[in-house]
């Protein structure tokens, strides 16, 4: 038998130091409110909400290879649910009820759309184009159904997050508390997705992404897998939208627009598709860049962000995180064989 060429590319494990680095980063994020000013805190809080949105897309695009260009539609459903449904609930649980309702609506819409697309065999660029159309439809509804959505002017009145039980209630009004709430949700989402995608389930998704026909002939109902991923991803996008509506206090048709759908794709691509943590970095980088450019001239930023994206695709097609990972692996010399999924 032929011997195995030792120079063949092998999967390498993430360096152990990476976990330490992630934990260190989390500690910094948790301590950030102790030394920063309120404005910077709200900027980071909003960036984390968009990072959650980016993670939701990465779970679908990065882990299963299905790119949606209409993800903002689901972000918008979650966002609009807060000022529409929230005021109907006269307790401190209003935001929670509105969040659950928005996430449920997003899940139902995703299930119906996804079922017909995915089980209808729509894949690749065709899927992307249909979801793009979905985004346009959602934006038209947001503008046109003004009695419900406020039209171009948008809506205010999203209730603050809080909880009311046994006659006791607690409202999260302070920006520091909101910051910790967002941090907790983002961290929990990352951990759950990382654990889920790190085992057999993640390998199956990678296999479907790689060769769906083969996965099907091995007995996997690939359409079922993709539908579940699509629905969960859209529900996570709705959570991000709901958080955004509460902390910003305002929802506009931009929240379901094509621009936001495009931006989230850029964040994921820049950070590193399929890495989960990469889109968080991508969202932070892009939002920071947007702020810097806007402070010079607010009309410039779409142009600069577009050029930045093109440059990133040419220079670092895998994104920032895989690049950092390679640097770390090289620097630490820990090329340990791995049996884990990506």
């Amino acid at each position: 038998m032929t011997s195995v060429d030792q120079s063949l590319p092998r999967r390498t494990a993430w360096p152990k130091g990476w976990l330490v680095l992630s934990a260190g980063l989390l500690v910094l994020v948790l301590l950030y409110p102790t030394w920063t000013d309120p404005y910077s805190l709200t900027v980071l809080r909003d960036a984390m909400i968009f990072a959650l949105f980016a993670v939701s897309l990465d779970y679908m695009w990065g882990k299963s290879g299905v790119l949606s260009f209409g993800h903002a539609a689901f972000f918008g459903i979650g966002a609009y649910a807060m000022p529409i449904i929230g005021p109907m609930v006269p307790t401190a649980n209003a935001a929670l009820v509105a969040l659950l309702a928005g996430v449920a609506v997003a899940g139902i819409v995703a299930f119906v759309v996804g079922y017909f697309l995915i089980f209808g065999g729509v894949r690749g660029p065709y899927f992307t184009i249909v979801t793009l159309a979905l985004c346009l439809v959602a934006q038209h509804i947001a503008i046109g159904w003004s009695e419900m959505t406020g039209g171009d002017a948008g809506l205010i009145g999203a209730p603050p997050f809080g909880i009311e039980m046994f006659g006791l209630s607690y409202l999260i009004l302070d920006s520091v508390e909101q910051y910790y709430l967002v941090t907790a949700i983002l961290t929990a989402t990352l951990c759950v997705l990382w654990l889920a995608c790190g085992g057999h389930y993640g390998r199956v998704l990678a296999a479907i992404q790689d060769n769906e026909v083969r996965a099907r002939t091995l007995g996997y109902n690939t359409s079922g897998y993709l539908l579940v991923v699509f629905v969960i991803s859209c529900m996570l996008a709705a959570v991000a939208g709901a958080l955004y509506a509460v902390v910003s206090g305002y929802v506009a048709p931009d929240s379901v627009g094509l621009l936001l759908s495009t931006q989230v794709v850029v964040w994921v691509a820049v950070g590193g598709r399929g890495t989960l943590l990469g889109p968080v970095i991508g969202a932070f980088l892009a939002i920071r860049l947007q702020q810097v450019v806007s402070s010079i001239d607010f009309r410039l930023w779409p142009l600069v962000v577009g050029a930045f994206f093109v440059a990133m695709v040419f220079l670092f097609p895998d994104g920032v995180l895989p690049l950092v990972r390679r640097w770390m692996a090289r620097a630490w010399g820990r090329l340990v064989p791995s049996s884990g999924a990506r």
Binding site: M1, V4, D5, R11, D210, R216, T222
Partner: protein, 238 residues
């Protein structure tokens, strides 16, 4: 010894436009049987596999597997009833490692320990234990073929369909594949499409000859080799 019929296909037919790719094909496979299918290019061998594996639905005819009709089931359901397949061109998950490919292929419900034990056994059987962490897309061609056979075995099939398992292999690898299949044949039913007559001869199993979508001969390979029609349309007179 009595053997039960595992698969019974009757009068299968499928057309692609004006071309009758398979017409009136009937075959019956018993438990633990090894069967070869030979024939010239375009004879309908891979199309027949596509029908048996559910990738294509026949225009006409029935397929029973374990006494149950399976025509019209989804592809993944064919796999779930116990039909595994190796494609003509190695079809692997190229961005996954050898071990991960085998792990994904083990869809059956079993504990992680059992799965790992079966993976280890398969790696040893296929002599792939030195490249467990190599990306499947980077393997040499012969090892890709073995890995795909290994993936099919990991799904614990009752019927294994192998489309040209030795294509691109050297003589030593071909012999090893023949030994492997002969060893497996006692525990599961195997159908092999092959163009390599040395390999088919080594298997020395019942052989079926397809030509223009129809079965033109069936029997032991020794008899098939002497069949005038088969020699005219496929094997040649030399």
């Amino acid at each position: 010894m009595t053997t039960e019929t595992l698969l019974r296909a009757r009068d299968l037919a499928i057309r692609f436009g004006g071309v009758a790719a398979v017409q009136g094909v009937s075959l019956s496979l018993s438990d633990g049987e090894l069967r070869c299918i030979i024939g010239p290019n375009g004879a309908g061998k891979s199309t027949l596999f596509n029908l048996l594996a559910g990738s294509l639905k026949p225009d006409h005819g029935t397929i029973e597997f374990g006494g149950r009709s399976i025509v019209g089931l989804a592809v993944h359901e064919f796999a779930r009833v116990g039909i595994a397949r190796k494609f003509q061109v190695p079809s692997l998950f190229t961005s996954l490692t050898v071990r991960e490919n085998l792990s994904v292929a083990s869809r059956v419900r079993e504990g992680a320990m059992n799965r790992e034990a079966r993976i280890e056994r398969t790696l040893v059987d296929l002599e792939l234990e030195d490249c467990v962490n190599v990306l499947a897309g980077e393997l040499p061609h012969g090892q890709k073929q073995w890995l795909e056979i290994g993936m099919a075995l990991m799904s614990r099939p009752r019927l294994l369909l192998l489309d040209e398992p030795t294509a691109g292999m050297g003589p030593e690898e071909t012999q090893k594949t023949a030994r492997l299949l002969l060893g497996l044949a006692s525990s599961l039913t195997i159908v092999v499409i092959e163009h390599d007559m040395y390999f088919v001869r080594a298997l020395a199993s019942p052989t079926l000859v397809l030509h223009q979508g129809q079965i033109i001969a069936e029997g032991n390979f020794a008899d098939i080799e002497r069949n005038d029609l088969v020699r005219d349309v496929y094997l040649g007179r030399q």
